[in-house]
């Protein structure tokens, strides 16, 4: 019974951790789905959004503002910072590269990553800044069935609920709004979209803005979990296997991919790790991703690309 309880505990914590990875992966999906650009800078955007939020929040609380008012203003300030970032990326990086191939655009986002990381730390500092928006203690469920119960972190549950709201919101945005449909048209073919009057510059600004806002949401959860700090950028590496498994173009895929990665890596660490030295969860996620890549290169939910030659 203890062994089963332990298994359940690891599984649940893995699934919930996976949902938090999905929060970061969603930003990648958005930009790729709408512009065909693999945005390497998504992790750096989470850092920038988090720093802008926590530093402005600390500043206003220090000035004596009530916490609820400070949090609203801080969220608005962080959103403005992400909007400025989106405008600058479109104006100075992607705009001049219209109609260049995907690899060129991808390389440009690597440059954007380092600029955002350096700029964010220079403007807002490189310490660890605690953020306490959600409870960080845990529930112990089914204590009568399992000795010690099943541990479930409250912040992970909050993350799961936020991810669910985001997915529904994004699905509606892509399917039901004119801008959402325009984003999908741009993703299919830049030149064709331009020919029917869609402004590429405007669309790219919108998509980077939405990805920036998703980064801000991810930063609220991850910032509460870890404190806002540089290491948040490493989440981008966690999102990669999620994307490979779920598919680069699917919002639900990012969630399912996250669940598979989270549960897979935690179970592997708990049950396989002790036999091969431990510390395997970081690379085990990529083992899972490779396995999916072999069987289904476009990911579980990705669009199959057929090119006629």
């Amino acid at each position: 019974m203890i062994a089963f309880g332990q298994f359940l505990e690891v599984l649940v914590s893995g699934l919930l951790a996976g949902v938090l990875y999905s929060l970061v992966a969603l930003g990648f999906v958005l930009i790729f789905k709408a512009s065909g650009v693999f945005n390497f800078a998504q992790g750096a955007m989470v850092l920038l959004a988090g720093l802008a939020l926590v530093r402005s929040l600390d500043f206003m609380v220090g000035k004596g503002l009530p916490f609820w008012a400070a949090i609203v203003i801080a969220l608005l300030f962080a959103a403005v910072v992400m909007a400025i970032t989106a405008w600058m990326v479109e104006r100075f990086v992607l705009g001049p590269l219209i109609n260049q191939d995907g690899l060129t655009l991808f390389m440009s986002t690597i440059g954007v990553t380092f600029m955002i990381e350096g700029g964010a730390q220079m403007l807002f500092g490189s310490d660890v800044y605690p953020l306490r928006l959600f409870p960080s203690d845990a529930w112990f469920l089914f204590e009568s069935s399992f000795p010690g119960g099943i541990l479930v972190s409250k912040i992970d549950v909050w993350g799961g609920m936020i991810a669910a709201v985001l997915v529904v919101g994004l699905a509606l945005f892509f399917q039901k709004t004119k801008t959402g449909r325009a984003l999908r048209a741009v993703a299919d073919d830049h030149a064709a979209a331009q020919s029917v009057g869609i402004s590429l510059n405007w669309i790219w600004f919108i998509v980077w803005l939405v990805a920036g806002l998703v980064a801000l949401v991810a930063a609220t959860v991850w910032g509460t979990k870890l404190g806002v700090q540089f290491s948040i950028t490493f989440l981008a590496l966690k999102a990669l296997p999620v994307l490979i498994i779920g598919g680069f173009t699917s919002v639900p895929g990012a969630i399912v991919g996250g669940l598979i990665v989270g549960a897979g890596e935690k179970l592997a660490e708990a049950y396989l790790g002790p036999f091969i030295g431990g510390g395997i969860e970081y690379w085990f996620a990529y083992v899972l991703a490779l396995a999916v890549l072999m069987a289904r290169p476009q990911g579980l939910f990705g669009e199959r690309i057929i090119e006629r030659i």
């Binding site: 332990q6 730390q121 972190s153 540089f230 935690k266 708990a270 510390g279």
Partner: protein, 439 residues
């Protein structure tokens, strides 16, 4: 704004150092600083780098340098990455009129890489409280100075403290002690000493790795929750430390049964976890936070003149460690000057200075470090110079010293140093020096 000022200061310092070759004939001693002010480990790297820089500035401002030789320094950002550390080393080793006096990489990984390089370049490595534990053996490692304490010292003292809490070494038998460690050369260092201790004292030892940078530890702490060890030792760095404390709290593991190494016992390690850190304990590399006589000198000669690298971390644990690191390095240069004259020293001369450094209690008091450091004396055989440590506990607001000095058990550690140094010598085909013939 502070960061911007820092960046501009760093640029200005770089520009100053770049004037080195042009003023090669002037009395300037070049000391490089391998730092990390950005990246995942910056919260811990910044206060240390500030302490290092401020002590050198103090000597220049108050004394006009070391015996009239002005200190010129340049920072190089490593980001705690070994490849960047080696790149910085190569770029800075030849700077200044006599080249780099010594290097302090503040990274066990970079130390491992540079240990192979420094004998060829004849530049000493000062690795205070980190690096290869067996490099205490100066006969095999003539260029390494693992001052004040090694990870084996730390591991041994941690077990001694646990034994004291339990009521004696005999009470360790049958107890479970787990090590949660950064999966890197740094984190792996204490394992040999802890295994040796487990054999002697009969406790059950388990090592649990955490992958860099340590933001994901849920599986490890769920395993701890199931395994229920009596104590957890924490060998983390940067974000890993506060994450471990948060995870310990989440699984309900008592914080006063978690003992961190001295690189897991500074303010940036506990403040991000808030109240969850209360009760957490950590080793002290002899010193803790707080102001001592040297701080009064710093306030008068550096801070009040607006020349301090930073103010927020003034007198914090890692800032103080940076001060001590610079003090030991500059005292080695001063010792070398007694033999070679008051002029810029070469790395080889500074190495001699380290090996003959004798920081007595009186000298430590004279330098303003009384209360921060016990007497320290290097020799040809012993490149550690001291092997004592204390314990501190976070009370929710500040670190409080909770023990007197423990002395590491040489009966357990000396054979480990000897055995591992001999193994290294065989691997690298090094002929150990005969210290009885050294002057």
């Amino acid at each position: 704004m502070r960061k911007l000022t820092l960046a501009l200061t760093a640029l200005a310092l770089g520009a100053t150092a770049m004037t080195g070759p042009a003023t090669a004939q002037t009395n300037e001693q070049f000391i490089p600083a391998l730092v990390y002010r950005t990246g995942p480990y910056a919260p811990n790297g910044i206060p240390f780098a500030n302490g290092v820089a401020d002590y050198w500035t103090l000597l220049n401002e108050r004394d006009g340098g070391i015996n009239g030789v002005k200190i010129v320094f340049e920072e190089c950002e490593t980001g705690y990455a070994t490849d960047k550390g080696v790149e910085c080393y190569e770029r800075l080793k030849g700077k200044g009129p006599t080249g780099a006096a010594y290097f302090s990489p503040l990274s066990t990984g970079i130390t491992f890489a540079l240990t192979d390089k420094v004998p060829g370049d004849k530049i000493p490595l000062l690795t205070m409280g980190y690096g290869r534990s067996e490099s205490r053996n100066g006969a095999v490692f003539p260029w390494n100075f693992i001052a004040v304490g090694s990870y084996w010292t730390a591991a041994d003292v941690a077990i001694q403290h646990i034994a004291k809490e339990l009521g004696g070494f005999d009470k360790l038998k049958g107890k479970k002690i787990s090590l949660v460690y950064h999966d890197s050369p740094y984190g792996k260092e204490p394992i040999a000493a802890l295994e040796a201790r487990a054999k002697v004292n009969g406790f059950d030892f388990k090592a649990i790795p955490v992958t860099h940078p340590g933001v994901e530890q849920k599986s490890q702490w769920l395993a701890i929750r199931q395994d229920r060890p009596d104590y957890v030792l924490l060998w983390g760095w940067g974000v890993m430390n506060s994450t471990s404390i948060k995870e310990a709290a989440a699984v309900g593991f008592p914080r006063d049964k978690v003992i961190g190494v001295w690189w897991s016992g500074a303010e940036p390690d506990v403040t991000p976890a808030g109240d969850q850190s209360t009760g957490y304990k950590a080793l002290m590399l002899q010193h803790g936070p707080g102001k001592f006589a040297v701080h009064a000198d710093l306030e008068k000669n550096v801070v009040s003149k607006g020349k301090a690298a930073a103010k927020e971390d003034f007198a914090q644990v890692l800032y103080n460690r940076g001060l001590i690191n610079s003090m030991i390095g500059t005292e080695a240069i001063r010792t070398a000057m007694k033999k070679y004259g008051n002029k810029p020293m070469t790395g080889e001369q500074v190495r001699w200075g380290f090996e003959n450094l004798n920081l007595t209690a009186a000298r430590i008091k004279e330098l303003g470090f009384e209360g921060m450091l016990q007497p320290l004396r290097f020799s040809c055989e012993d490149h550690q110079g001291a092997d004592v440590a204390r314990m501190q506990q976070w009370d929710g607001k500040a670190w409080k010293t909770i023990s007197d000095y423990y002395k590491a058990d040489e009966k357990i550690l000396a054979p480990l140093v000897k055995e591992n140094a001999a193994k290294y010598a065989t691997e690298k085909k090094i002929t150990a020096r005969d210290c009885s013939k050294e002057s």
